[in-house]
């Protein structure tokens, strides 16, 4: 019996191996780079002469984890970035998505998933660097770093620019429906305006929500001062009275459908919403705002044999036309100089999408990782805000009632049993 099973298993193994060999072996010869690029509608002139073919036929698989809807793939009208990379390099891309920085963090920490490429945001990158979760990059394999705008090099979250290459970026803006809002929106104060009671949406995550209160009150977006955080919390509590809801991705339906009048959100997504509903418009508030950058990194848990291939992928994402495709698809701003130059003039001139360096320096602040203590405190304030703690005594009373009920039922049953036995 055992022999038969092992025979079947061996056979299955051989067959599957043969299957693999065939699929990779059939197109063993790589087409010339120009032909591959042209078949994807890319201009070879705009591509660097980087040797993308050196791993061809080696059957390498890269595990890439990115935000949902954050790369130009599966859209018939646009270059499929991953397919182009696969055709060019012979490296297979296993693409996965995640919904938040924290989900990615916990996945990496628990070791439940091995990724060769991840794209976290600024403050999460500094946290991961601090905790030794990111690999230093070998920039000899990423010559396209030269394409990145100088203002994105050596950022606060990665001061020596050793661990990350910027992918896309943006600011936090106020998006509003021009048919429902009469005044000119210029300030965060509109989100506290009782006129819009029941029509205001707010971020459903503490960092962004506190960030708005901090910007409104003129504090640093990275403040760890408890008094300042308390002030932000009471401001947010005031706002809770007139807020319609706390949302993240649900905002697309609600703003596009006209269910809400005014909300803070990320510029790139605001661009997308405005395309879908021309009544919408967005503005960068005068008090200043958060400037965020999502950057490409390699986690320490990644497969070390794949590191050079992963760096090749990073370099590929910094190719002007690839960065352009991603920027067009996602709606966020690109840090790649040549991709920016390829944009149409309207987008380039849009101060909200591509503000001047001076504006960024004066009016915006990047999130960096807060200390665990301050983070926990902010979290506590946020939970208190979300959870109305008005009736703490209910639960103990409830538990007592429950226990009393159990005892009563048992006593009743015991007595009844005794009665029945007569």
């Amino acid at each position: 019996m055992k022999k038969i099973i092992s025979l079947v298993l061996a056979l299955a193994l051989v067959l599957s191996l043969a299957g693999c060999g065939q699929s990779a072996g059939s197109d063993e010869k790589r087409l010339p780079t120009e032909e591959i690029l042209e078949s994807f509608g890319l201009d070879p002139e705009l591509f660097s002469d980087y040797d993308y073919g050196r791993f061809y036929g080696q059957e390498i698989t890269l595990n890439v984890a990115n935000w949902g809807e954050y790369m130009s793939i599966n859209d018939d009208e646009m270059t499929d970035v991953n397919e182009a990379f696969e055709a060019l390099t012979g490296i297979e891309v296993n693409y996965k998505t995640y919904a938040s920085n924290e989900t990615l963090y916990s996945k990496l920490l628990s070791g439940g998933a091995t990724y060769d490429i991840v794209i976290p945001s600024d403050y999460m990158i500094s946290k991961m660097i601090k905790e030794g979760m990111l690999e230093k990059l070998n920039f000899e394999n990423i010559p396209n770093l030269a394409n990145i705008m100088p203002s994105f090099l050596n950022p606060q979250y990665d001061p020596d620019n050793e661990y990350s290459v910027p992918y896309l970026w943006g600011m936090v803006c106020i998006i509003y429906n021009t048919t429902m809002v009469d005044d000119e929106i210029t300030s965060w104060s509109s989100l506290w305006d009782p006129k819009y009671e029941g029509d205001i949406l707010m971020f459903n995550n503490p960092r962004d929500a506190f960030g708005i209160a901090q910007a409104y009150l003129g504090y640093s977006l990275n403040t760890e001062n408890h008094a300042e955080l308390d002030a932000c919390a009471s401001l947010l509590r005031e706002q809770k009275e007139i807020v319609q809801g706390y949302v993240m991705d649900e905002i697309f339906d609600k703003m596009e459908g006209g269910s809400a009048a005014i909300a803070p959100y990320y510029v790139g997504d605001a661009v997308t919403m405005c395309e879908d509903n021309p009544d919408l418009d967005f503005v960068i508030p005068e008090e200043g705002t958060n400037w965020f950058v999502d950057a490409i990194c390699i986690p320490t848990t990644a497969d070390h044999d794949n590191k050079e291939a992963a760096e090749m992928y990073i370099n590929f994402l910094c190719e002007p036309e690839i960065a352009l495709a991603n920027c067009d698809y996602v709606g966020y701003s690109t840090p790649v100089t040549q991709a920016y130059e390829l944009l149409d003039d309207d987008a380039k001139a849009d101060e909200r999408r591509y503000p001047s360096d001076d504006f960024l320096a004066e009016n915006t602040e990047v999130f960096v990782n807060m200390s665990d203590e301050a983070n926990a405190y902010m979290q506590e304030l946020w939970t208190q805000l979300k959870v109305d703690n008005s009736n703490v005594w209910f639960v103990p009373i409830f538990l007592v009632c429950l226990i009393a009920a159990t005892i009563a039922v048992n006593v009743y049953r015991a007595r009844k049993k005794r009665r029945d036995s007569f």
Binding site: N204, Q244, N375, T383, A405
Partner: protein
């Protein structure tokens, strides 16, 4: 006849790997801090979230009661029609469940929004707009809608076995309708009720997606708070596990309490 015990092995292995071990991990996480030391801190920290826990239980109880009130007559009616109509009704009941639960909840969002379908229709006759979404009513509606089939199905499967002659006998002996339900139908369908109550109450008390989508983030339930500990900004699996553990114990407690009522009712038969 002796049942061969070997047949239980696959299930036992399944339970061991996917229930016992994870449960052990939850307990382990609940009583340790991030440095790996044993602590009761997480359980104490739970007290801050007790009002949410209470609200979740309250919402779940309300949803369960509404489900029961709707499902009891519905199941009775279905169980009394002829066999072909019975299967039609059951299929009609099941069809919405073939669609993903998330999508069905999204559909409710489009219905209930302040310029959603319902308000637009009301607008035609100069009513509204009413604010139907982002309140606790919408959350309970979501629970009732999503979990109602779990109440109807067990009730139906029990009621369909009630011999019609028993009901006729009760009527012949002069029992009025209320008495018929109280003395005959209710005791006979008690096993279905207790299964249904568990099937509705347990997912309702721990839901997080319904409250987020229909409650607009202003009606967070304990499920949301637990989810936040694992994939939200406050990454703290230890506190999350402690919450899950406390929730589990309370639910177990309530279930055992309910089952005692259930078996009590069974006695007269």
């Amino acid at each position: 006849m002796k049942t061969p015990r070997a047949l239980a092995i696959p299930y036992a292995v399944w339970v061991l790997i996917f229930t016992v071990v994870p449960l052990g991990l939850v307990v382990g996480f609940a009583f340790t801090n991030p440095d790996g030391n044993i602590t009761l801190e997480n359980i104490f920290a739970m007290s801050e979230y007790m009002s949410v826990l209470f609200r979740s239980i309250l919402f779940a109880i309300i949803a369960t009661v509404i489900c029961l009130l709707i499902a009891f007559p519905a199941a009775y009616i279905i169980s009394r029609v002829n066999a072909i109509n019975q299967s039609t009704f059951i299929v009609l009941l099941m069809v919405p469940m073939w669609i993903n639960f998330l999508l069905r909840t999204y559909a409710w969002m489009t219905l209930l929004e302040s310029n959603g379908l319902i308000n637009r229709l009301l607008g035609l006759i100069d009513l509204g707009p009413y604010s139907l979404i982002n309140n606790s009513g919408a959350v309970i509606l979501g629970m009732v809608y999503n979990y109602l089939p779990f109440m109807i199905l067990p009730l139906y499967s029990v009621m369909v076995k009630i011999d019609h002659s028993i009901i006729e006998a009760a009527q012949d002996l002069g029992s009025n309708k209320i008495r018929l339900v109280r003395k005959v139908l209710l005791p006979l369908s008690m096993p279905g009720i207790s299964t249904g109550v568990i099937a509705v109450f347990v997912p309702s008390v721990s839901t997080f997606i319904i409250s987020r989508m229909l409650g607009g983030g202003t009606n967070d339930l304990i499920g949301d708070i637990i989810e936040m500990q694992f994939s939200g900004n406050s990454y703290n699996p230890h506190l999350g596990s402690a919450m899950a553990l406390v929730l589990m114990i309370i639910v177990l407690f309530m279930m055992s309490l309910f089952n005692q009522f259930g078996s009590e009712e069974d006695v007269p038969l």
